[in-house]
């Protein structure tokens, strides 16, 4: 095609002014597609930028949200595809028809499934619930209503602050020569979660059906905690005292960093996902050093550690209040639901092979989530009492 800059400029102007006809619109884009016009398009864009004035609509944009996304490296807003089934469908193009200036491709061969929301008995989501066991064995039940100082362990006072977090406050006084170790354990039931601030200011988010044990005041050259279940850690930096999370046969050593440990007794594998910083995982005789974005997993019967790159957001979805799945198998999905909703799961017949992708808030009732999962096709749920029966569809 012979270069026709005049025509291109004319079309561009019409496009920018929003008063082109459908034919002109289509024609404009044929020029855009042609690399020969790249330079002139660039030139026009430069000109536009130099002479423009910001429009009034700029005030409606949520700039603060955008800035936070940028500064926290939240990249291409990861919108996972949905549970429903509108997309990813092959379409064959049947006709092109021009009507009064509009060009439209008529698509046939649609395959859409209706979005079905099945109403059923509802199960409420979990909430802030935990039990704190003190060194002497006494227990305190925690939820988000009790506030203020709860008790003391030696020189450490244990408080629940206004946001509901459990906070360990060691006095600034120098540690006594002989110090009693007060071991405390925080335990969450199914459907519970809790947040804890350890005596060294490290933060721990405890997921459902989990427990973490630690001393009320860290002593010695290491800060040690023991975990069963799942927790997310933000460890405060202290190069003199490495922080160690012990879980089953594994031991995660960190200096100051953010990571997630998932070690449920009813799961085959223990998984450690690193968000920021650096950790060293030791399992028996095996050692692995993790980088951010990596997940290490190991089983119960041997020391082998396997490493892979993962989506950290998906691994830590629970901490932010969501369920997030990325091509997840039904078992993985049901295990997450099981713990948060405190229900049992049974599989009837062949296990559905369908995989799930999506994000949904944990604040939803169970029916909503199951309804959504069903729209993916390939699975059907039935609730009786507190048991979900999963069937292949």
């Amino acid at each position: 095609m012979e270069q026709n800059n005049e025509r291109f400029n004319y079309l561009l102007k019409k496009y920018l002014d929003k008063n082109c006809t459908a034919q002109e619109f289509e024609e404009f884009f044929t020029y855009v597609a042609d690399p020969v016009y790249e330079e002139i398009l660039h030139a026009q864009m430069n000109h536009n930028f130099k002479s423009l004035n910001p429009g009034a609509d700029v005030h409606q944009v949520d700039w603060e949200n955008m800035y936070q996304n940028v500064i926290h490296h939240r990249g291409k807003t990861k919108m996972k595809t949905l549970f429903g089934k509108w997309i990813g469908v092959a379409a064959s193009i049947a006709l092109v028809v021009t009507i009064g200036g509009g060009y439209w491709w008529l698509k046939t061969e649609r395959h859409t499934s209706a979005v079905m929301l099945v109403k059923r008995h509802d199960v409420k989501p979990g909430g802030d619930k935990a039990i704190l066991t003190l060194a002497d064995g006494s227990k305190i039940t925690l939820d988000n209503t009790v506030k203020g100082t709860l008790t003391h362990q030696g020189n450490t006072s244990i408080k629940q602050d206004s946001s509901g977090m459990l906070v360990y406050d060691t006095n600034a006084e120098p540690r006594p020569a002989v110090e009693t170790a007060y071991t405390n354990t925080l335990t969450t039931p199914a459907g519970g979660k809790f947040m804890l601030v350890l005596p060294d200011h490290s933060k721990v988010w405890l997921n459902s059906q989990s427990s973490i044990s630690y001393v009320a005041a860290f002593r010695g050259h290491e800060r040690i905690v023991e975990l069963k279940g799942e927790a997310y850690f933000e460890i405060s930096k202290d190069p003199q005292r490495p922080f160690i999370v012990k879980s089953g046969r594994g031991s995660v050593k960190v200096l100051g960093t953010h990571f997630n440990v998932s070690a449920y007794p009813d799961e085959r594998l223990t998984e450690v996902v690193l968000s920021e910083g650096s950790v060293r995982l030791t399992v028996g005789a095996e050692i692995a050093q993790l980088k951010p974005g990596q997940q290490a997993s190991f089983g119960k019967h041997d020391d082998a550690i396997s490493l892979k790159e993962v989506d950290v957001d998906e691994a830590v979805d629970w901490k932010n209040g969501y369920f997030q799945f990325d091509n997840a198998e039904i078992e993985k999905v049901m295990n997450k639901l099981k713990r948060w909703y405190n229900i049992d799961v049974q599989y009837q017949g062949i296990k559905p092979g369908v995989k799930f992708t999506g994000i949904i808030s944990r604040d939803n009732n169970l029916s909503k989530i199951l309804g959504l999962l069903e729209t993916s096709g390939g699975v059907k749920f039935q609730i009786t009492d507190r048991t979900i029966i999963v069937k292949k569809h």
Binding site: Y15, L16, K18, C20, F25, E26, F29, T30, V32, A33, E38, L41, H42, M45, N46, N48, F49, L52, P54, G55, D57, V58, Q60, V61, D62, W63, N65, M66, N69, V70, I71, H73, G75, T77, K78, M79, K80, T81, L82, G84, W86, I87, V89, A91, V97, I99, G100, G102, W104, L106, R110, T112, V115, L117, Y322, G358, I359, I360, S361, K368
Partner: protein
């Protein structure tokens, strides 16, 4: 934006290269509206413009250690924006679906209030229209229309800004309306042809 002061902007970029967040915030505030308007001019989509602006600043921030000794900060920043916008147009030129979405934004009256979509409208047609949009826009729409999420709830669940959620819904509705209108007239003509 006040007069372009090359020297002070060069200094800001130097500071950003060293990781100075405050300097970055200043540059963000200096350029955001102009960049946004530029992209809206060329894409006719406020929702997509937001995405590209965010993308631009993300690129700048992630590559901040290359910002030493930029002679012309404004040109540099503009070039990043321009390339992303050009890429957007280029991608659209290869896809009928994308072009149609831009067409709908361009042609229909831009009113701020959400248009109502008659429920009687053929679900089949609505689904067809939706399948031509990006997965992200479909999801936002689904959460709004079928889950009954408020804009705020959708923003929370997806990490998108409220303004972007709102613009996406407005744009999707516009597109669906246009698509249905066009398909209906096409079908009318086809049946006329077959009947005669």
């Amino acid at each position: 934006m006040a007069e372009y002061d090359v020297l002070s902007e060069k200094l800001l970029l130097e500071k950003i290269a060293q990781g100075d967040e405050l300097a970055f915030r200043l540059v963000f505030d200096l350029y955001k509206t102009k960049i946004y308007t530029f992209i809206v001019n060329f894409t006719h989509s406020r929702a997509d413009a937001e995405e590209i602006v965010q993308d631009t600043f993300l690129t700048l921030w992630q590559n901040r250690n290359t910002l030493h000794q930029i002679e012309h900060p404004r040109n540099y920043i503009y070039t990043v924006v321009r390339n992303k916008t050009y890429h957007y147009l280029k991608q659209a030129s290869k896809s009928q679906a994308r072009m149609q979405v831009i067409w709908a934004n361009l042609k229909l009256d831009s009113n701020e209030t959400e248009e109502t979509l008659q429920l009687q409208e053929s679900k089949k047609l609505i689904d067809e229209a939706l399948s031509m949009m990006s997965a992200q826009k479909q999801e936002v729409f689904r959460l709004s229309r079928y889950e009954g999420f408020s804009h705020e709830q959708i923003a929370d669940a997806t990490g998108l800004s409220k303004s972007r959620v709102k613009n996406i819904i407005v744009e999707v509705l516009k597109f669906i309306k246009m698509y249905i209108a066009q398909c209906t007239s096409i079908l009318a003509i086809i049946s006329w042809f077959t009947d005669n």
